[in-house]
Symmetry: C2
Subunit: 359 residues, 2 copies
Amino acid sequence: MMGPGPSNVPDEVYAALGTKTIGHLDPYFITIMDEIKAQLQKLIKTSAKLTLPASGTGSAGMETCFVNLIEPGDDILILINGVFGMRMQDLATRLGANVDTLEFEWGTPVIVDAVKKKLDAKTYKIVAVVHAETSTGVRNPVAEIGALLAATDTIYLVDTVTSLGGIDVNMDGWGIDSLYSGTQKCLSCPPGLAPVAFSEKAVAALKGRKTKVPNWYLDLTMIIKYWEGHTRAYHHTAPVNMLYGLYQALDLILAEGLDNAFERHLENHRALVAGLEDLGLQMLVAEKYRLPMLNAVKVPDGVDEAGVRTALRMEHKIEIGAGLGPLAGKIWRIGLMGHTARPENVRRVLAALKTTLAR
Amino acid sequence: MMGPGPSNVPDEVYAALGTKTIGHLDPYFITIMDEIKAQLQKLIKTSAKLTLPASGTGSAGMETCFVNLIEPGDDILILINGVFGMRMQDLATRLGANVDTLEFEWGTPVIVDAVKKKLDAKTYKIVAVVHAETSTGVRNPVAEIGALLAATDTIYLVDTVTSLGGIDVNMDGWGIDSLYSGTQKCLSCPPGLAPVAFSEKAVAALKGRKTKVPNWYLDLTMIIKYWEGHTRAYHHTAPVNMLYGLYQALDLILAEGLDNAFERHLENHRALVAGLEDLGLQMLVAEKYRLPMLNAVKVPDGVDEAGVRTALRMEHKIEIGAGLGPLAGKIWRIGLMGHTARPENVRRVLAALKTTLAR
């Protein structure tokens, strides 16, 4: 799997997924929950107490952050340069927020000066941005936007679905207040869980709500009582085996070391880009804004975009992704996420592309 | 595991969970999705096209049914005789519904005549009830309530989390319009997925909404485009490995045969009750309303309720459940769900209880 996720999964994680289920209130399971929380805090670089995996895929993480923080009529600003920024807009609008947006061309990053102007003109309860825009392969300047918000009351909400585990994510260092991710990208665990973290500022906003969270399943004011403290009040039945898988996947990443994992993603990305350019292909995104784990490649004129993907899947057993929205038919998306980011995979996809494009 | 869920999981399901992940848009995966849908339709006894597993645990199933059907101000009636009826009330209220309730003593069933009176007095958009109330071990008269609603426009919404796979659930035969379940009870798959089904009447209500579903993640108007038709539009990344597990679990149930599975639950339940009575213990629920898969046993005076559960877990490696709400400290809940409903488990729990209570 060399698409935009899911990524390849290490054998140890498969073994963990198939480990015997125990009760979600069993004391032994609760020690695993505590360890997963500590692992996630290391990975996200945060001391935020409210750090846990929500019981759904990455989009449930987005839903969790927004539904817990938004009350009807809240002013929020969403920075959009791809599918996942648009999804934020749709989701926040459904929750009754007053949504302003700043849009940037797909394939280019959010421009910090434009954000600054917008923030000078109006105060927002929440500013939201996607760190690694999976639909375009662009890295947004999350640290710089955080600096603009540092001395304000605004809650800074960041999507790290595709970035976490592949490039640096520094929640506390960058002033992020609410963050979500997914397991099936650079964490190399199958899809099914969405790590989320809330800073003290975000928790204060949650506790200060005038209305109940309009989503029982994802209500963190209740879920936190299951993930913290002595009583461990039952909320919903946790997805026990998925949590085994995440526990093992996080252990592998922390054993490798975050810096080593980031370096591995970068090296394989560089080798892939060099190989693609040797084949005469061009990248969509300018070099300094490229994500190592999601490589958007322009489809050359006259080449059958879908035909190439089908040939890769059928003849070479390699899955790569298509473009979405305005980029449909115009790019391929080659993922080097987590366990997939290895030299042999780079070589395989380059060889397969070479054969296929030569026809 | 002999509590209120999760239940024991067959080895074949563990093996399926650890099978190699493939892409959620891979054509082979889509054939598995189609087969899961057909399996669920057989299990639920429905021809409802909108039948699929939602990407969350059982409570996400409840959230899915309510959030897709309720619009603010809708009149809905919830029949309550336990924790899960109360959860329905909380959830529907958060969504802005105008909620009426009819409450019955915990441990006793919903009384059909009382429902009839309520329905004669007021017309509701939705009437909701829990089939198998996991908190008390009571089977509610779902078919009889359905008969009251048969000639009306009211949507009949039923929680089958604990019943499905252990006792008969006949969606089309009983006039159910919206139903949800969970994988970790009588389906004997680890927690993580929530089968849901919507009748044509429920789909018409969904399509006729004046407002967008206020929950992006669980919006069936979008999810259906991923589960149906030719295009298979990406919505959220499906929990691929959990779906492998469900596919295998459903295959085992259908291979055994539904009637055989129901009979196995009943026989083991009868053996358990006989053994409990031999130990001088009493059941909470009157015989004709008892669930075979969830046995609520009264804690005798002077016995340390939590101490017995701890001893069973520590010394006999058996998990049983505690009472919830007004029944906390007053009952134990012994599950005979799915793969757990076997004579050797009945014998083990009876022997362990005998030893523990004799002290």
